[in-house]
Symmetry: C2
């Protein structure tokens, strides 16, 4: 019988944030790919696009004109999935198997820069700090509504991630309930906190800093790792070194450090396949439900789909949808690749 | 204050199989789409393709020659994610936050037909019965290995679902552990069974048959519904009317009825946008762990990505990855659309 080797043998790893397992097939990277390829748009964009509904001064679909903004610009989503309307909170469920409840919320769009052709990895550090400050303001402003208990800050980047406009922007969905993934994470953080009286992610980060093999980058206040349980090929997580729960608990120095690691990670991503690297990213933090949440530890997830080139992505389909997430290389290998990449954007070489 | 209306107001619905909530935004269907479009391949395929590694008589990448098969053909996946190798079952975890264990399994490919250009909706009923019988045989054969506790039967159809070869085929991944989604489903079926001494899905189906509004099609032994908690725009679930746990518990008459509903649902799918409709589908059933599983109720999921045309899909990104699944129309509307579609394939019109 062979002895087990994580770089050779199929195995399952446990995600303690979601309390679920994923399948790792480290031997499978050599599989040939004859399937669908994504388009790799390398056309260079103009700094201002007269047809873009996010550029300063342009008109949006509802007739509103964007202001001549100079850093960030926030507005309510013209096609919100959630609505800020109070509807009767009757239990609309007609059976325990037909459980349903009205949900109230606010959807916003955050333009990161007036410049149509930029993305976070190409922005100045001070401009990225402005984005973080805008997220902080929004977290406060939205959290202040009595009916808002959770503020989800996220970004979809790239056409392959369903993003229909390359103008640098993200979204915020604020709502009454804790979304499924957040609620699940909270439950597991809470369980750990009650048992150990420490933050799960603080303990985890300490172990990652010691182990080193999944560490991609760190500065004084944050570290980026390929999580031990990463499902996407180059998934990463930025974790704060200090144990705090929300984006508004950051000191000014931490805000600057967060901007720096955000830029570094996204530059590394762009450098990986010398393309504008697509991903969905988002912040997981304590809800705005006015309760104490010592279990929460600020972190940001990056879920990028690309697998081995700018045009070949990982498909989370079939087995993954019905069974569990599966990856074709080890997280340690991905971390090593990302770690070695330069922190200077390839376009500046 | 307005009174709540499921066709107008954002709300959350509960999925009792996974015990999680999803977000429904029924008002959002009118959102314009300027993002990525999928290619709609309408080229007609040959009955035999000399370059296809699944066609009868052709050579596969490992040098093996396929037999001149005449109905179904099963072989071990040449690029298996799981391996049938016994490795030392030491606890490889070095910390409670780095939990990991070796996983052993077998991956198979099931060709549904020797004819390269067919898919299930275009196959004869008797040929589809042959597919089901092949699944039954595989469930028995794989389940007989002492180290196999779960057999996942599934199909990825269409390039957008990561399928790299249009030759009609599915896969089977058999393994030692219960995959995450299956384990979660089992836990919830079990809880319900212990409480009510009945099958959750039997009770659910009874209510759907009464309510009618999410029912798409039924025959004597099976019904297809858009689940109350469907996340994909045209997601459906085929549920057996009789309470049994696995594909090998089916009578001959049920096997014939299963073939009939499989054909009907996939024909309706093809007719929806007059295209070869992409999806991932798969069977959820009792594991092969040699334990009694009265809680399990045979069902098959269809997760199709298309949203409003053959080229515009729903992106499960950003909010969906970090928060929870979200849909832009009501399941009732999707069911009404599917229900009205003809059961004759559009190519035969
Ligand atoms: O095995 P295939 O068809 O090459 O690969 C496809 O299905 C697998 C099982 O759902 C996935 O893991 C792969 O990402 C997908 O591309
Ligand atoms: O709001 P957008 O950018 O138009 O839409 C995109 O992001 C949303 C939030 O992740 C998703 O629900 C949509 O499916 C996706 O296309």
């Amino acid at each position: 019988m062979q002895s087990f080797n994580t770089n050779e043998h199929p195995h399952r790893r446990h995600n303690p944030l979601l309390d679920e397992w994923i399948l790792v097939s480290p031997h499978r990277t050599k599989r040939p790919w004859q399937g669908q390829k994504e388009s790799n748009s390398t056309e260079s964009l103009p700094e201002y696009d007269p047809t873009c509904y996010l550029c300063p001064g342009n008109e949006r679909s509802n007739g509103t004109k964007n202001p001549e903004y100079t850093d960030c610009f926030v507005f309510e989503n013209d096609f919100s999935a959630l609505l800020n309307e109070e509807v009767e909170q009757t239990n609309a469920a007609t059976s325990p198997l037909f459980k349903l409840k009205p949900e109230r919320g606010i959807n916003k769009v955050v333009c990161f820069s007036p410049k149509h052709h930029l993305t976070i990895p190409e922005m100045e550090l001070t401009a990225i700090e402005k984005v973080i400050e805008t997220w902080q303001q929004q977290y406060i402003e939205l959290g202040n509504y009595d009916f808002i208990n959770h503020v989800q800050i996220f970004e979809n980047k790239g056409a392959v991630m369903g993003c229909s406009n390359p103008h640098p922007h993200g979204q915020i969905w604020a709502q009454s309930s804790l979304p499924t993934q957040v609620e699940r994470t909270q439950k597991n953080l809470e369980k750990y906190y009650e048992l150990h009286k420490t933050s799960l992610l603080k303990d985890y980060l300490n172990e990652e800093v010691k182990a080193k093999e999944r560490l991609v980058y760190e500065n004084n206040h944050f570290a980026a790792v390929v999580p031990f349980w990463a499902t996407w090929p180059y998934e990463t997580m930025i974790i704060s070194k200090r144990h705090f729960g929300t984006i508004i608990a950051m000191t000014k120095e931490e805000t600057v450090a967060f901007a720096e690691i955000l830029k570094t990670i996204t530059v590394k991503y762009d450098n990986l396949f010398e393309t504008s690297f697509p991903y969905s990213s988002g912040i997981h933090q304590a809800p705005t439900d006015r309760l104490a949440h010592p279990e929460w530890h600020f972190h940001m997830h990056f879920y990028p789909p690309l697998l081995r080139s700018a045009t070949v992505k990982k498909f989370m389909v079939g087995y993954e949808m019905l069974g569990e997430a599966q990856r074709d290389s080890s997280p340690e290998k991905s971390a090593a690749v990302l770690r070695e990449l330069p922190t200077l954007h390839y376009k500046l070489k």
